[in-house]
C-alpha cells in the first residue's frame, strides 16, 4: 500500500509542473487573438498534423535524429579515445592543452561558412558542426578523469602486472568514468542544439530548417510545435542517458552511498 502511494506521489511530482504550466498557458491564451501566442490545443493540433505525418517523419525528423545520433556518437568516441591518450601522456597534454582551450572557445556557428566551403553543404558539414561543438566536454573531462586516476591504484595494479590495454579497460577508464559520463551529459544537450543550428544554413530539410521555415511563413503554431518536439527529444535523450549512466556507474553511486551512510 505504502509502495503504491509512494510511486503515485513520484509520478505526480514528475507530471505535476508540466501539467500546471500547460494549464497556465491554456488560461493565459484562452481568448488570445494574438497569432504569436496560440493556445496549447492549437499547438497540439499542429504537432499531430505536422510532425506525425509519414512525410515529415521520413524527410525531416528521422534524418535530423540520425545526424544527431551519429554526431554525438562520433563526439563520444573521439573524445574518449583522444582524451585517454592525451590524459595518460604528460608531454602530449602540455603540448595540446592550450590549443584545445583555443578551439573549444570558438563557437561552432561561426565555423559554418568555413565548413560549408571545405565540406560542401550536405550531411558531412552538418555532422562536422555537431562534432565540433559537442566533442569538447567529453574530451576535456576524459583528459581530467584519466589524469586524476588515483596514483596508489595505478601503482598497485602495476605491481600486479596489470598493464597496457588491460590497465585501461579495468583501471583507468573505470576510474575516469564518472567524469566522462558528466561530459557525455553535456555533449548530448550541446549536440541537440547544434543539430538545429546546422540545419539553419544551406539546408532544405530537417527539424531546425522546418522551425525556421514555419517562423518565416508566419505558421506560428507549427513553429511552437517544432520547439515542443525538440524539448520532448531532449527529455527522452536525458532519460535514456540516465538509464545508461546508472548501469555504467552503478559501482560509483553504490560506493558514494556507502560513504554517505
Amino acid at each position: 500500500m505504502a509502495a503504491v502511494r509512494r510511486s503515485l506521489v513520484s509520478i505526480a511530482f514528475v507530471v505535476g509542473l508540466p501539467a500546471i504550466l500547460v494549464l497556465a498557458w491554456a488560461l493565459a491564451t484562452q481568448d488570445s487573438t494574438n497569432l504569436y501566442f496560440p493556445p496549447p490545443s492549437r499547438v497540439l493540433d499542429a504537432f499531430v498534423t505536422t510532425w506525425l505525418s509519414p512525410d515529415t517523419l521520413k524527410d525531416d525528423v528521422l534524418p535530423s535524429l540520425s545526424r544527431f545520433a551519429i554526431g554525438v556518437l562520433l563526439s563520444i568516441v573521439i573524445g574518449i579515445v583522444a582524451g585517454t591518450a592525451i590524459g595518460a601522456t604528460p608531454w602530449l597534454r602540455a603540448l595540446l592543452e592550450p590549443m584545445l582551450e583555443f578551439f573549444r572557445a570558438i563557437p561552432p556557428v561561426v565555423l559554418v561558412p568555413v565548413l560549408m566551403l571545405v565540406l560542401g553543404i550536405d550531411d558531412s558539414m552538418k555532422l562536422a558542426v555537431i562534432v565540433s561543438g559537442s566533442v569538447w566536454p567529453v574530451l576535456l573531462n576524459t583528459i581530467e578523469g584519466v589524469r586524476g586516476t588515483d596514483p596508489v591504484l595505478v601503482d598497485t595494479s602495476r605491481s600486479y602486472r596489470v598493464r597496457g590495454v588491460l590497465a585501461y579497460r579495468y583501471v583507468v577508464l573505470p576510474a575516469a568514468s564518472p567524469q566522462i559520463m558528466a561530459g557525455i551529459r553535456l555533449c548530448l544537450s550541446i549536440g541537440l542544439i547544434l543539430m538545429v543550428i546546422s540545419e539553419m544554413f544551406a539546408s532544405s530539410s530537417g527539424l531546425g530548417y522546418q522551425i525556421v521555415f514555419f517562423q518565416r511563413q508566419y505558421m506560428v503554431a507549427e513553429m511552437w510545435s517544432g520547439i515542443l518536439l525538440l524539448g520532448l527529444i531532449g527529455v527522452l535523450v536525458a532519460a535514456v542517458f540516465q538509464l545508461v549512466e546508472r548501469r555504467v556507474l552503478h559501482w560509483y553511486h553504490g560506493s558514494r552511498e556507502v560513504a554517505r551512510g
Partner: protein
C-alpha cells in the same frame, strides 16, 4: 615542472578578472540607452512638433534613398521625425510592427501576403522598389564559369540556391523554368545566403544561384553567366519591396499614412535628382567601398503600386501551391 600550472592558473585568473570587470561595466551602460529611448518615444504631442515615426528597413542597398532623404530633411518638411530601424528580415519585423515598436516596415510583398493569409493585421500602403521591366534586371539566376546551363529549362534537376525557400525567388524560378519547357518540380532548392553564393558556386556545391546586385555583377565579372532574370521573365516590374503597416495604424491615423506616402514620393523624386547623395549613404550606412557604391545598379524606386503584377504574383503562388488560397488584395492594399 611544477611552476608551469601555477603560471597558467595565474594567467587564467587574470583573464577571468578582466572579463568580470568587462561584464560588470555593461549593466551600468544599459540604463542610459534605455533612458534615451524613453525620451524619444512619446513625441506625438501637439501639431507643431514633428511626429515621431519609426520605419523598419533591411540593411540593403535599396534602403539608400530612404537614408539619404531622411538625412536631407525631406521627411521633416512633411512633419515627420523619422528613425530608420534596421531589421533582419520581413518575418522578424512583423512582431515589431504588430507590437508597435516600429510603425512602418519596408519588406517583400510576398511576406505581407503570407502574413495576411495567416491572419495578421498587415496592410500594404505603397510601393517602394520594383524590378526592371527591360534590360538586365536587379536580380538573376547565375552560374559559374564554364557551366553547361544556358537556358532556364537546363535548371531542371539541378541544385539552385536562394536566400530563403518558399518566397518570390524560388516561385518565379519555377515559373520561368516551366515556361521554358523544363520540369519545375525537379529543381532542388537550397538556402544559401547571398554573400556565400559565389563561393558555393565555385566549390561546385550548387549548380546555380539566385542573387541580387551587387552579387550578380561580381559573379558575372568573375567569368560566370546570367541564366535567367526570374522576376523579369515571369512578372516584369514585380515589386521587390513595399511599405507595410498595421490595419490599426491605417484606421487610427490615416493622416500619418498619407504623410508617409507623400513624403516617400517626394523622397524618391529628390533621390532621382541627387544620385550622389544616395550613393554616399551606401558608403556611410553600409560601409560599401566607394567604387562599388558608384556602380551599383538600383531598382526603380516608386510609391505607385502595380496591383496587376501583385495579383499575378498571388495567382502564381496559388498555382504552385505556395498559398492554400489567394490573399484578398483589396483589403491588403490600402491606397
Amino acid at each position: 615542472m611544477n611552476r608551469r600550472p601555477a603560471l597558467v592558473a595565474a594567467l587564467v585568473a587574470t583573464l577571468t578578472l578582466g572579463l568580470a570587470a568587462c561584464s560588470s561595466d555593461s549593466p551600468s551602460q544599459s540604463p542610459t540607452t534605455a533612458g534615451a529611448d524613453a525620451t524619444t518615444a512619446p513625441a506625438d504631442d501637439g501639431d507643431t512638433a514633428p511626429q515621431a515615426v519609426t520605419i523598419g528597413a533591411l540593411t540593403i542597398s535599396e534602403t539608400a534613398p530612404l537614408w539619404a532623404a531622411v538625412e536631407a530633411g525631406i521627411f521633416t518638411e512633411h512633419g515627420l521625425d523619422v528613425t530608420v530601424q534596421p531589421i533582419q528580415g520581413g518575418a522578424q519585423a512583423m512582431p515589431a510592427l504588430i507590437n508597435g515598436d516600429i510603425d512602418f516596415s519596408i519588406g517583400q510583398p510576398f511576406g505581407a501576403m503570407r502574413a495576411s493569409l495567416q491572419g495578421l493585421d498587415v496592410k500594404i500602403i505603397a510601393n517602394y522598389a520594383q524590378s526592371l521591366t527591360e534590360g538586365d534586371d536587379i536580380n538573376s539566376v547565375v552560374v559559374g564559369a564554364g557551366s553547361a546551363i544556358t537556358s532556364p529549362a537546363d535548371l531542371a534537376g539541378k541544385k539552385v540556391s536562394v536566400n530563403s525557400i518558399g518566397a518570390a525567388g524560388d516561385l518565379t524560378i519555377r515559373a520561368a523554368v516551366e515556361a521554358d519547357g523544363g520540369d519545375p518540380s525537379s529543381i532542388e532548392f537550397v538556402e544559401v545566403a547571398f554573400p556565400d553564393a559565389q563561393a558555393q558556386l565555385d566549390a561546385g556545391n550548387i549548380d546555380a544561384a539566385w542573387v541580387p546586385e551587387p552579387f550578380v555583377s561580381i559573379i558575372v565579372g568573375a567569368g560566370g553567366a546570367r541564366v535567367v532574370d526570374p522576376y523579369q521573365a515571369t512578372l516584369p516590374g514585380l515589386p521587390t519591396l513595399v511599405v507595410q503597416t498595421t490595419g490599426k495604424t491605417v484606421t487610427d491615423d490615416p493622416e500619418l499614412v498619407d504623410a508617409v506616402r507623400d513624403a516617400l514620393t517626394e523622397a524618391f523624386a529628390w533621390a532621382a535628382e541627387n544620385d550622389d547623395a544616395v550613393r554616399q549613404s551606401l558608403v556611410d550606412e553600409m560601409k560599401l567601398p566607394e567604387p562599388a557604391a558608384a556602380n551599383l545598379r538600383f531598382p526603380t524606386f516608386s510609391t505607385e503600386l502595380d496591383v496587376d503584377v501583385l495579383q499575378g504574383l498571388s495567382d502564381l503562388a496559388v498555382q504552385y501551391e505556395y498559398f492554400d488560397k489567394a490573399p484578398d488584395l483589396d483589403t491588403l492594399i490600402v491606397e
